[in-house]
Point group: C2
Chain length 705, copies 2
């Protein structure tokens, strides 16, 4: 790769990679882990196409291998990923969880590899669950050795390698069930979605272990896809029905430096939505075909559903299937960054703004309807029929993380934090074995069973899903959480998330080792200590001032910083750093009553409680049944305390509420209004902890008095 001459020392991925510590370095002391690759990946010579010429400033993230999390709040979750989620999900993928829907995902690979007999079972994209699990395992292996886990992963990789066809094709559904129908139903059949997850897993596993076996599988698979799809007349000018491979190919490019993978990703993005529409043509060419799932005649494709209704550069608003959308926007941001494409970046910003200012639940959930698991339109954010899929919020974090690599603006970190601390954390049970796929903001358990419009909403987390995209997605996000904490430019280390631990950050030709400590999210006091500082130049620490924070202060070595500079939501503390220097950030964290934009009909006259990054909710087990009968005066006093008995020390909010009396109604459904209310105590718990005690009603938005 041609070295980019840039006087401001932007660290582009190729440079970054050289700086990633390999085995044997002093990073060992931090428990970092990483091994030299078996051999160097092949690198193609970059064409003079300009494809890879960055045209805007870039803020690369500090790689996950350079950061160790050791946090009173998060370590518990990360341990859970390692000790419970991954083993449990491995059992699930192997159909060993009593009472859960069988996955058959591993078995499908075994059959395709000729190691077992049987029929393909599960969703057409079942393979991806295995891939996501492997990706999560790779992140754990990057954080520290685990020979047992690595042996299991290697075993699985061997099966996957055996399942791959000699030409590189790999998708167990088509290998087992319809070998003649490869690539014939891109709209429904997820072949490239599965390939994308295998590629992501391969890149992560290679970076963590240096082992090439899965990377070689991924390269052969990507090479095969590149031989089938493209602008050339003999190739298919199609693109995936479910976007995912686009961002995966960027990772494959980063792992191999082979530019053709970046070009293939760009082809898929550029081709999408061009007229005549590929999916429309595919459908017209197969009128006699029955739909994969139900056997009914295939209906005409819903082009908005998979964001192929128009070219991406023309898309003004986030529409359609939310996961597809944010995976695609993430790839667009990757390509904008890697190819320096300003038009693509403009589209990314426009689509981001649309989501963040018009289609985002206060919990960081996206996707207002279960119909197509989709975005709807501006300000349409119903609480009790929300979809807000876990995977969609994870994809939103991907998107935010990529936008932060181009625009250093706290709004991206704010959304990342909101989605992470509310939807993503809340999707898993405290024991790591049960998950929400849908993350509603209001639940009436009777309605989940009794009204089919709400049957997608579950009042309790489920063991495993037939369509199990979310649990392994949570695992891979949490296992790679460290990569979301910091990024750098030539003279600033930016902190996006307040999670305790240590980092060795390469910057300005040297390295700064930094310790972060806090009791976040329960407390807003965060302390950074310089453990060692090699660079001699003045550097800044850039600390995200969260959007929820109205008052803050900052100390440098215990003294107020005289003229703190805030740029796009980042507080910058500049200094020539020495070992032992400290920066203390104090974010005031009072209870806030939030209201929604009046255009959000569903939240009219209501308030929601937030403290720090955490959205709060009422639960029936604290407040009695019929939460809709409660209202709250936002001007009244609320007390906050850490309840050591409850949910391992969560901070709860208590205050005064008003409850509509249910007395004297008899058999009546309607009556002339008469005031009949009584004062009551209300208690709110963090949203992410809901449904961990008795099943019951839950509400985030509460009637305002």
């Amino acid at each position: 790769m041609e070295k980019i001459k840039n006087p401001r020392k932007i660290l582009v991925p190729a440079e970054r990679e050289k700086l990633i510590p390999k085995s044997g370095g002093k990073e060992k002391a931090y428990g970092f882990h990483g091994r030299a690759p078996d051999e160097s990946p092949q690198r193609n010579h970059i064409k003079e196409s300009g494809l890879l010429m960055p045209k805007q400033k870039c803020y690369p993230p500090v790689p996950l291998t350079d950061i160790r999390i050791s946090d009173p709040f998060w370590s518990r979750y990360l341990d859970l990923v390692k000790e419970v989620m991954l083993p449990y999900q491995w059992d699930a993928l192997n159909d060993r969880i009593p009472g859960a829907e069988p996955s058959c995902a591993v078995q499908n690979f075994q059959i395709a590899a000729g190691l077992a007999q049987g029929e393909f079972q599960g969703e057409v994209f079942q393979d991806s669950d295995v891939a996501k699990w492997l990706e999560a395992a790779a992140y754990l292996l990057a954080a520290g050795p685990d020979p047992e886990l690595e042996a299991v992963a290697d075993g699985m990789i061997e099966i996957i390698e055996k399942a791959q066809r000699p030409d590189g094709y790999l998708d167990t559904y088509f290998i087992i069930k319809e070998p003649k129908k490869r690539w014939s139903n891109l709209y429904e059949c997820h072949e490239m979605y599965v390939a994308g997850h295998i590629i992501e897993a391969a890149a992560a596993y290679y970076q963590a272990t240096g082992k090439r076996r899965l990377l070689d599988v991924a390269c052969r698979l990507a090479d095969h896809i590149e031989s089938v799809f493209g602008t050339e007349p003999e190739k298919i000018q199609g693109y995936p029905g479910h976007q995912e491979i686009e961002l995966a190919l960027v990772k494959l490019y980063q792992a191999t430096q082979n530019e053709k993978y970046l070009a293939l990703s760009k082809f898929f993005i550029d081709q999408r939505g061009k007229k005549p529409n590929y999916f429309q043509k595919e459908w017209e060419g197969s009128r006699d075909r029955r739909t994969f799932k139900t056997g009914a005649p295939v209906p005409p494709p819903d082009l908005k559903y998979n964001q192929s209704h128009e070219p991406v550069l023309q898309q003004e608003a986030a529409v359609g299937h939310a996961v597809r959308a944010v995976y695609m926007y993430s790839a667009m941001a990757d390509l904008a960054r890697e190819a320096g494409d300003q038009e693509l970046l403009k589209s990314c910003r426009r689509l981001w703004d649309n989501i963040a200012s018009k289609q985002l639940y206060i919990t960081g959930g996206i996707g207002a309807t279960h119909n197509g698991e989709a975005f709807t339109f501006a300000y349409d954010l119903p609480n009790d029929t929300a979809y807000a899929e876990t995977c969609a919020s994870i994809g939103l974090i991907f998107f935010a993380h990529r936008m932060l690599q181009m625009d250093m603006d706290s709004r991206y970190g704010d959304v990342m934090e909101r989605a992470l601390y509310n939807v993503v954390l809340g999707s898993a049970s405290r024991d790591g074995k049960r998950f929400f796929y849908v993350n509603p903001l209001e639940v009436w358990p009777k309605a989940c069973g009794g009204n089919p419009d709400k049957q997608h909403v579950k009042p309790v987390r489920q063991k495993w899903f037939g369509c199990a995209c979310c649990p392994p997605n949570v695992a891979r996000l949490m296992a790679s959480l460290n990569q979301y904490l910091y990024s750098t430019d030539e003279d600033t280390i930016y902190t996006h998330l307040y999670i305790s631990g240590e980092a060795g950050i390469k910057i300005a030709g040297g390295e700064m080792r930094l310790k972060q400590e806090s009791s976040y999210p329960w407390d807003g006091h965060i302390k950074f200590t310089v453990l060692s500082a090699l660079p001699e130049d003045e550097l800044s620490l850039g600390l995200r001032l969260p959007g929820w924070c109205r008052n803050w202060s900052v100390l440098f070595n215990g003294k107020p910083v005289p003229r703190p500079v805030v740029q796009k939501g980042y507080l910058k503390v500049a200094a020539h750093w020495h070992e032992g220097d400290t920066v203390e950030l104090r974010l005031e964290m009072p209870v806030e009553c939030l209201q929604a934009n009046p255009q959000v009909r569903a939240d009219a006259g209501k308030i929601a409680f937030q403290r720090g990054p955490l959205v709060y909710c009422l639960e029936e087990c604290d407040n009695g049944a019929n939460l809709s009968a409660l209202s709250v005066d936002p001007g009244s006093a609320f007390s906050v305390f850490k309840d050591s008995q409850l949910l391992e020390g969560a901070v709860v909010i208590e205050g005064k509420g008003i409850r509509e009396s249910e007395d004297g109604w008899g058999n009546r459904l309607y009556r002339p209004y008469k005031a009949a209310e009584k004062e009551t105590k209300i208690r709110l718990i963090p949203y992410f902890l809901w449904a961990n005690r008795a099943p019951g009603e839950m509400a985030v938005w509460i009637r305002r008095r």
Copy 2:
């Protein structure tokens, strides 16, 4: 028919029929119309089974032919039925409405009759639209001669007769498309639903014109069905997938006095829900079958959907498809009355109570979800996703009308009035050419197009529907409205609806001719004048005191009635009546702010406005966009005035509201709460008039301040 010896002179249907005035009587003076039948219908001898032995008191309705409506409010609608709806719907059935979905209903009959070539088109129950139209035409012909309409109807009847198979079978879908598959898919295919509507039309047409042709078709059809279905081992022990024929067979029995039709109806009701379930067996016996509509494999039957999940006597709550449910409950009430079945009556009361006290929208709509057009569960009454199908409210009126024939209790009349004046009236446009199928209580037009969960909700009435059950159902209800006004027992004439006109009411061996006058629903002053009174015994006028009315007074010949007696919501004025006697009822009709039972989550913290029987609503064209930003203090003053400019003199309500300010939000979706409200004027119009001006938002329930 054996004459029932009853000292209290209950008028059973057989007796009633004898009293119905035929041609040439003095009823001519009232414009009543009716001709002697071509010949007497065959009457079977009643078996000694006890099937027809009434065991409880019965309150027969005064037949529609004995009442003429001449009402400042309603005559406009009845003229619309005659002059616009019926001709327009005839055009629709003949595919002559530009821009409307083609019906093909008449064409299907022509093809089945061998009078045209072509394929069956439309829904599997398309025939029923023609039958409902004929039934409505029959009611118009009963009210007065219309040779042109009668000629059109006779022509249609001739085609229907030709379409009928020699064995009596009649259903154009199966005749044209799948002649070998008769009765093989009772769950989906509506053959008996269609038969039921043909039978209803036949009974009405015979009673109106005395012409037997369609009645004979209906008898042959019913006889054929009776030869196919029954408890005998060689017969099918099945029952309809869509209930309707059950109540139709009772009408056929009433028209022919042939008891076997009553017995067949009772068989269908008794058989329903018995174990093993018929539909379950039907499904198990046809695993290879594809579903009628989509071609997908037939899923297992949803037994609650069509109320076959358990025997009707065990059903505790209204569940499933709302129209199916209320049609069935109507038939159950018919059978309870005709067969004196106390257990069936108890079930009817239980199901009625469940609907009226737990599942009824304030507008008289039923069916909380579009998923299966169905009831959900107690207190689940969402406003913006409501289904509240027009046909379901019509069926609820049928059910109420039948319950009134056994329980003289104003609660039935109250619901009948609520459904009639709000949902049914509101379903048709002011010009009678457009209809709502779904009657929501809250509409955000953007959401109807932008959120698939609300795509069933339409912000404007539609021209015609592919599934066009509602428009002809509205027509037949309105054309037969007079039959819902009065009923009698041996010594009381009960008035259920306050609609001006004249009636000749047979009672106590004589006749009382009565004039009713009012400006209802705009005004609560109703005057009854005795035009002539033949009976010499003391008789009572029983006047329904509507549930919405809190203060009333009554005058007899201008003087207060000393000790007015109220029995189950009916005010009884007893007298020896003479020509010129008057009774004046004054129902106070202030603006009422109603609240819903606090268990109704969707209406928590909200109020609805009602005045008299009319529910009111906000519309965007009066109150600006974003109605959810408005709130109202129920204690503030509201003015009422007749707006002669607006919608032909409707009474509108005006008052003070508070509007949440939308200023200063910029691009924000959430912010810390701050009070930002301004006072504004609000204007409410009767719900039934919504969507007659500019399309826009509408809301019945308004946030309470």
